[in-house]
């Protein structure tokens, strides 16, 4: 049996999250939630947390963070929850629907205008 690559072993990934696997249902990070750092990295901080803070000086989507860190989305969500719960990042969640649950017509119009201007 060949030795699995470093990034192929899911168990290893969970050492990054201290074995925790759920990011808490009260903080649902969407793939496209935009994350913004609220502080600078500090000495002694977990390297992934520090990397996220550097990456999020400007708004950065969860999926971009996952790609940059080369980590699965679910692991990235756990790391982000840590930072959110300690106030080190803020989260701008997508707002695409009106209260009825249907997509906001204003947003669809803005998307159309943006695409036509490409």
């Amino acid at each position: 049996m060949s030795r699995p690559g470093r990034d192929d072993a899911p168990d290893r990934l969970y050492t990054l999250t201290g074995g925790r696997t759920r990011s808490g249902s009260d903080t649902p990070f969407d793939l496209v939630t935009l994350v913004v750092a609220e502080c600078d990295p500090v000495v002694g901080m977990q390297s992934e947390h520090a990397a996220i803070l550097r990456m999020c000086e400007r708004p950065t989507a969860v999926v971009e963070i996952a790609a940059e860190l080369n980590l699965p989305v679910s692991i990235t969500r756990v790391l982000l929850s840590d930072l959110l719960s300690t106030g080190r990042v803020s989260a701008r969640h997508p707002h695409t629907t009106v209260p009825s649950g249907l997509p906001d017509p204003d947003i669809l119009e803005q998307v159309l205008v943006g695409l036509r201007n490409l």
Binding site: D30, L31, A61, T96, P103, P105, V111
Partner: protein, 212 residues
């Protein structure tokens, strides 16, 4: 001022506050990543989600130990629409195991584009079935691979497509053509939800409160 490196990330504007999703679904080699690349402002990136063989995203480390874990990878690109709205385009594999992750990854998506190779139409059946099941509005775009021409009627019949669902040809390598595919989807979403809105308004007319 900014130093330019070959792999520099293009940061978003500080005012960006609304991420939006559109998913491009299609079989292997149908041109999903090509389409994303044609319109994306960043080089398409790749990321992944891990799930157990039972088809569930990993929530519990004991599941990973008990069953071997599988990874589903997907590509994405990005379009800054204006100072607030950022559109993310996801190229998603249409294979069966992927659909177990749909709700986790793509709930709240505006809509989907089913990218079809007309030489392999049958590979799109499953994706269309799943999108209908999830209630995700979609359009069908046939990527031009220079195969024998089919009439739109033939393709509609082969896909058993609802007459409301737009069908168009495209060249995923072309920015203009790919842009037109996206515009067609969003116009379809507008009319799709206008019909839904009309249904809701009819309901309101029957209520004691006068509509309008």
């Amino acid at each position: 001022m900014d130093s330019v490196t070959s792999d520099a990330r293009a940061p978003l504007s500080a005012s960006a506050d609304n991420g939006l999703k559109i998913v491009i679904v299609g079989g292997f080699g149908v041109g999903k990543t090509t389409l994303v690349r044609s319109v994306s402002e960043i080089r398409p990136l790749n990321t992944e989600e891990t799930m157990t063989q039972a088809g569930e995203a990993v929530d519990d480390i004991s599941e990973v130990r008990g069953k071997s874990a599988t990874t589903v990878a997907f590509d994405f690109g990005r379009i800054t629409l204006d100072t607030h709205n950022i559109l993310y385009l996801f190229g998603a594999p249409g294979q069966e195991r992927f659909w177990f992750l749909w709700d986790r990854l793509f709930s709240g998506t505006l809509g989907a584009i089913v990218l079809v190779d007309t030489r392999r139409i049958d590979e799109s059946w499953y994706a269309i079935d799943r999108l209908e099941h999830h209630g995700t509005p979609f359009i069908v775009a046939c990527n031009d691979f220079g195969g024998p021409p089919h009439t739109p009627a033939q393709i509609r019949e082969a896909l058993d497509l609802d007459p409301h669902v737009p069908l168009l040809d495209c060249d995923a390598r072309s920015r203009e053509s790919s842009k037109q595919v996206l515009i067609t989807l969003v116009e379809h979403l507008q009319s799709h939800y206008a019909r839904h809105g009309a249904t809701a308004a009819e309901g309101a007319l029957q209520s004691p409160e006068p509509a309008l």
